[in-house]
């Protein structure tokens, strides 16, 4: 399998938080979800990968051969979008269009305006467009996404693109991400971060889970769903079951938890129900396990 991005020993150190050391790959031609709670280091990792902040140590290889994120050709190929307040507060859509058209060779101004219309936000031809400061969080994100999708890129790196969007727009975003991959025919890739995978589950082929600056699990979503099971049973069996579960909770009527599929047989004896987890259940279970074992 080819990788679009490979990191070795990647570290970013702050006085009170350290990201890394991280060794990981992002597979080419797929959409990778970077999942973690607030403060896990997702934004820091994305900002380091896109050159917004400098790494403390380690190497990152882009597109198989490129090592320097500051090279113009590398930045042209990556479509980056931050989670909040990406464009300056005083800017209107026309400012975005002017700036992006000058800064990026692959920016299509006409497509940008068309995408703004599709996403139901002002474009540069709208009557009395408002500046970014006066836009809602959702509209700011839509404008930023329109700008990113209007560029010719080989990889999208998006920081929490769904967090400020309404459910319908999130669903459309997932479709658009799928279209991006389909257009690339295996040559384009996506990395997006989220702290709530439930609404973007069908946009993820590969998942990386993070906790406190470290990666705690990763793999193709289907493989992870085969690796783990969700277990449900009677409260009376909870004490026996919890030793086999990575994370668990119990109430008056039932217990539920995440366990390794290799332990499935042990749960048979407890008459517990075993299910294939959703990505959301995997996220909660793995992150909870990481939190309890810090």
């Amino acid at each position: 399998m080819e990788n679009i991005l490979t990191a070795k020993g990647l570290t970013k150190a702050y006085p009170k938080f350290t990201l890394g050391e991280l060794d990981f790959e992002i597979p080419k031609g797929f959409s990778t979800a970077l999942i973690g709670a607030n403060g896990a280091g997702k934004t820091t990792l994305i900002d380091v990968l896109c050159g917004v902040i400098h790494k403390t140590a380690g190497d990152v290889t882009y597109f198989g051969t490129e090592k320097d994120i500051d090279r113009e050709e590398v930045r042209e190929q990556i479509g980056y979008c931050a989670s909040q307040g990406f464009f300056p507060a005083a800017w209107k859509p026309k400012d975005i269009a002017i700036s992006m058209e000058l800064a990026y060779k692959g920016f299509d101004r006409e497509l940008f305006n068309k995408l703004c219309e599709e996403m139901e936000v002002d474009n540069e031809f709208s009557r009395k467009p408002v500046n970014m400061l006066k836009q809602s969080d959702g509209n700011r994100m839509r404008l930023a996404l329109a700008a990113v999708f209007a560029r010719k890129t080989d990889m999208l790196i998006l920081d929490e693109p769904g967090s400020s969007l309404d459910p319908l727009m999130r669903d459309r975003l997932c479709d658009r991400l799928r279209d991006y991959l389909d257009e690339g025919n295996g040559e384009k890739s996506i990395l997006f971060s989220t702290h709530n995978i439930a609404d973007m589950e069908n946009a993820a082929d590969y998942a990386i889970f993070m906790d406190k600056g470290k990666m705690i699990e990763r793999g193709f979503v289907e493989d992870l769903k085969d690796k783990y099971i969700i277990v449900r049973g009677e409260p009376a069996d909870y004490d026996k079951a919890k030793a086999l579960m990575l994370s668990h909770n119990v109430n008056r009527t039932t217990f539920e938890g995440l366990a390794l599929a290799e332990n499935a047989r042990a749960f048979e004896e407890l008459s517990a129900v075993r299910e294939r987890p959703t990505l959301q259940q995997l996220s909660v279970g793995l992150l909870k396990h990481a939190e309890e074992n810090r």
């Binding site: 896109c50 113009e72 307040g85 990406f86 300056p88 507060a89 800017w91 400012d95 800064a103 400061l133």
Partner: protein, 212 residues
């Protein structure tokens, strides 16, 4: 990429800067016309006193807004920081935009002074020119700093100190281009302006790569 295009990447449309400057010039011109058409003592006195103050504040400030915006692109607390730092050739764009915004500011100041002197003979605007050059220099000396107070200082100097000073000397005996002003004050202001710009450009790389 050219200096002008680099500035446009950082600033988007420059219409707002032109409008701000044009408004300042327009008001000054309007006052000049009123002075010519209604030469009553009270009107003349008010305009002669108000113009230096207005010119010093409004023109100087409107000239510096562009440079302030470019410096702000490198402020991690400012919205847009991640956009600017993710651009291809981001540092080069920043450096060129800085140079352009300062040249643009000086050009606007000189243009304003030349027009006002030619049309109305108001020598007080040379005070605005000197104050403006001094403030541009100050802004460039402090622009890379993280302290918002330090960055606001040129505007405080322009608005508070220089504007008030200009009004004061204008009220006394009118304003004359004395040898002191021509040989010392204006050249000193010019040196501070040029050295401030040079300092800002030479420090640009270090400032751009600094985080937090």
């Amino acid at each position: 990429m050219s200096l002008f295009k680099s500035f446009r990447v950082m600033a988007g449309t420059i219409k707002q800067y032109v409008i701000l400057f044009a408004t300042a010039v327009g008001v000054t011109a309007a006052l000049g016309i009123v002075r010519m058409l209604a030469p009553k003592e009270i009107v003349v006195g008010f305009i002669d006193g108000f113009v230096p103050f207005f010119a010093t504040i409004s023109v100087t400030v409107s000239c510096m807004i562009g440079s302030m915006g470019v410096f702000n692109a490198n402020n991690p607390l400012a919205v847009g920081y991640k956009y600017y730092h993710s651009l291809p050739n981001a540092y080069e764009l920043f450096r060129k935009a800085l140079i352009f915004s300062d040249i643009f500011a000086i050009a606007l100041l000189v243009l304003y002074s030349a027009v006002v002197v030619a049309l109305f003979g108001w020598m007080q605007v040379f005070f605005a020119l000197g104050a403006g050059a001094f403030c541009i220099g100050l802004l460039n000396f402090f622009g890379h700093g993280r302290s918002p107070f330090a960055k606001m200082m040129p505007f405080v100097v322009a608005g508070g100190f220089a504007g008030g000073f200009a009004t004061g000397i204008s009220e006394e005996n009118g304003f004359e281009l004395t040898p002191l002003f021509i040989k010392i004050i204006l050249p000193v202001a010019a040196v501070i302006c040029v050295s401030g710009i040079a300092f800002a450009v030479l420090r640009a790389k270090k400032a751009w790569e600094r985080e937090g």
